[in-house]
């Protein structure tokens, strides 16, 4: 098999890549990187990804990191339907704009909420830093407001598209993350609920399969909250 994906079920961008490949029936070999055991810090893994992160792909020996770059590369390398990464220039530009914007907005605040509320307390066996959590929650909500008011203003999908694109894969996988630390993004507002449900429906059964670990942890966390 010429395509190999190095992933982890708790990595948002890794899930986005898995969704893309499964939804398009692209054959690939999946390697789950054992982050807890520190596989990503070992010399062997550095040869695959010198940045020591997930996800990374290997395609016929070509190694590539950064989910946004990978999604573009896969869209043009495999014959996928146009809507995933449309050729129409203005829609493509809006999708690109979301994929650039999201790093410092939904991704960073969602990730930091998850780190602060789930990873750090467990790893270092310490209580949750509520002050920091509150700060990241504020940033997360600002990002969700901007998604509601701007990115989803002109159509059912991110950037005003009439069909799902790679931008939506990045968006929903990020939206699933804070739930594991007890913040249920799905119920933030009507638009977000509707959006997440719509995208999930389109991507079944892959969506639930790829999020099974996430959903297990969310169930526990949201019961407590």
């Amino acid at each position: 098999m010429s395509l190999k994906l190095y992933v982890h079920p708790l990595s948002q961008p890794a899930r986005a890549l898995l969704l893309f490949c499964r939804a398009n029936s692209i054959p690939f070999q999946e390697h789950v990187v054992d982050l807890i055991k520190g596989e990503h810090k070992r010399e062997e893994y550095k040869k695959v990804n010198p940045f020591q992160k997930v996800p990374v792909i290997s395609h016929d020996g070509f190694l590539l990191t950064e989910s946004v770059a990978i999604l573009r590369y896969l869209s043009r390398t495999f014959s996928v339907p146009d809507h995933w990464y449309p050729k129409e220039s203005e829609l493509q530009a809006r999708i690109d704009a979301y994929m650039a914007w999201q790093h410092l907005n939904l991704r960073s605040y969602g990730s930091m909420y998850f780190q602060t509320g789930y990873v750090i307390p467990r790893t270092f066996k310490q209580p949750v830093n509520e002050q920091k959590l509150s700060k990241f929650e504020k940033g997360l909500e600002t990002a969700l407001d901007e998604i509601t008011d701007i990115w989803l203003k002109d159509g059912p999908f991110i950037g005003g598209g009439k069909q799902i694109s790679v931008a939506d894969l990045l968006a929903v996988t990020e939206m699933e993350q804070p739930g594991m630390a007890g913040y249920d993004v799905k119920t933030y507002n009507k638009r977000i609920t509707e959006y997440m449900n719509t995208v999930r429906e389109i991507l079944q059964p892959h969506y639930d399969q790829i999020h099974s670990e996430c959903h297990k942890i969310q169930e526990k966390a949201l019961k407590k909250a």
Binding site: F51, F62, L64, E66, Y73, R76, A93, A100, I150
Partner: protein
């Protein structure tokens, strides 16, 4: 058909676009529209019609408005017949440019900006310099510069490969920013120093023109 560029020269990605557009002036007709951040011009109702996120840079090409420098650079490269090296059609070369442009947001851009904001912008707005934050951002910036020195520039003369690309515009304009807060990005990073010189040499006089105020503030910070 004129591309309106809304910019402020204190903004790193604004400078990247200024340099790109001026370097391609024969191919892309441009109208430069300054938006003075220090005067709050980005917060006006008029500007919100251009970019609802109220930030620079942004463009308006015959009514098509677009924000986010990474997206703007891609859009311009496919809309106008600029030289291939800026955003190569070769799939693997293009993927490397995309890779840098994605990586930089949460790395060089984030920590360079945070260091600058903590030391220079906050005091301008009447807030004290948070020394703890400054130390943290300084350390994170140092780590990121190490990654650029030892990984991005390990085998290639330019950030994403063997030729100058739009990724280099983003990289170098970000590398210029911390100097205004007195942080020497070149100290201990000889590859980065050589790299910035090489990129500058290819982009004159536009590089120096875009950095006129930046150079003044860098000189001030050194005193």
């Amino acid at each position: 058909m004129v591309v309106k560029l809304y910019y402020d020269a204190m903004s790193q990605p604004s400078r990247a676009l200024l340099i790109f557009l001026r370097s391609n002036a024969k191919i892309i007709p441009v109208e430069e529209v300054p938006v003075a951040l220090r005067k709050g011009e980005h917060l006006s109702k008029d500007f919100a019609n251009v970019n609802p996120f109220k930030k620079v840079p942004a463009i308006d090409n015959d009514g098509f408005k677009l924000a986010e420098s990474v997206s703007i650079l891609r859009y311009l490269c496919r809309t106008f017949p600029v030289a291939d090296h800026w955003y190569p059609k070769d799939s693997q070369k293009q993927a490397r440019v995309d890779e840098y442009m994605a990586w930089q947001h949460l790395n060089l851009r984030a920590f360079g900006s945070m260091y600058f904001r903590t030391k220079i912008i906050n005091p301008m707005m009447g807030l004290p310099v948070n020394e703890d934050n400054l130390k943290t951002f300084g350390k994170q910036l140092d780590d990121v510069l190490g990654v650029i020195e030892n990984i991005w520039l390990k085998e290639n003369p330019f950030i994403a490969g063997k030729e100058l690309s739009v990724a280099d515009l983003l990289a170098t304009t970000e590398l210029e920013q911390p100097g205004m807060a007195g942080y020497d990005v070149y100290k201990g990073h000889p590859k980065i120093a050589a790299y910035v010189s090489a990129v500058k040499a290819k982009l004159q006089p536009h590089y120096d023109d875009a950095h006129v105020f930046v150079y003044k503030l860098q000189a001030k910070a050194k005193l």
